[in-house]
Symmetry: C2
Subunit: 203 residues, 2 copies
Amino acid sequence: MSAIFGKEILDYIYNLFSLEDEVLKEMERFGKENDFPIIDRYSGSFLNLITKIKKPELVVELGSGFGYSAYYFAKALENGKVVLIDYQERNIERARYFFEKGGLTDKAEFRVGDAVEIAKEYKDIDILFLDLEKLRYLEAVKTLEENLSEDAIIIADNVLWHGNILSETDRKAERLREFNSYMSERYRSIIIPVGDGLLLSVK
Amino acid sequence: MSAIFGKEILDYIYNLFSLEDEVLKEMERFGKENDFPIIDRYSGSFLNLITKIKKPELVVELGSGFGYSAYYFAKALENGKVVLIDYQERNIERARYFFEKGGLTDKAEFRVGDAVEIAKEYKDIDILFLDLEKLRYLEAVKTLEENLSEDAIIIADNVLWHGNILSETDRKAERLREFNSYMSERYRSIIIPVGDGLLLSVK
């Protein structure tokens, strides 16, 4: 690729196009105070935009944390719903609190437990979002392929692994490379090189 | 935004996900030999993927050159067509040659003349792609807004202006900033910071 842009230009993009929302700001503060990693705001805006284009009926998230990324999906939904799944009940309770505050609970379903196991209950998933334990990305996709709708989109966060994706000694990097290779062979895919790397794949 | 990735990682992305096609490679060689600027391959793959998600009936390109970006649109179309417009007849003839070679002429319409004037003939444009003279971006969008379909997408190339978008002395940078601001206020938009900056906007 030809151009690598510096911080000043990335800030320009970030400031010009962020989705403004008071609940999102509160979630960002909560994440910061509790040292809870969330996707960056640019990636959130990207999820929101892709959802507007795709118009999904069913979005399923694996690894929702306290609902920050799910909130961007929910804000873009017209009719469908987003299923939030996290193995920690307190995360899902926190997500429910934020969704209530944002008036978005009618667009969401809140589930506690193993993300892959719970996701298997859903058929015709239009957007599958992966943000669970990185070692499980490939297993998650392979397990859930039969649960995807015909033209499903798969989106995965952290696929550049903090810029360490090419590391030969990092086990998670190695597994993420396997995942990226699988996605490039089996789907039309692209990685958006922002935040921690966002993979977008189409069946 | 949190992370800026280096050349090694951008090359990893580029190599893993490029769309392989012999005609595209020939077009790349032609562009290089004739010093004719084209979008980079990553941006092409992005256009292709968005088209697969959007499933447009009508794509209109302003400033098609010899058809490199249009080819990525055409390859992703199921039923629709892409209208190529360029003011130079020899560019459009060259595009026709490449589209014939790729077996894609049934998905394309070839037009010679002023891009904005010709585009006005089309109604319900699902994807409007801007790659014409940069000083005309804002005029083009304002003129063609009434020709867009209800959920249209607008995509514009070069919106980071070779990394000079923040220049205070470059007239084109100033006009592109005006365009970017307009798009951020009137649409849900995002800039993909690859190639020369690709704007994606949804009505």
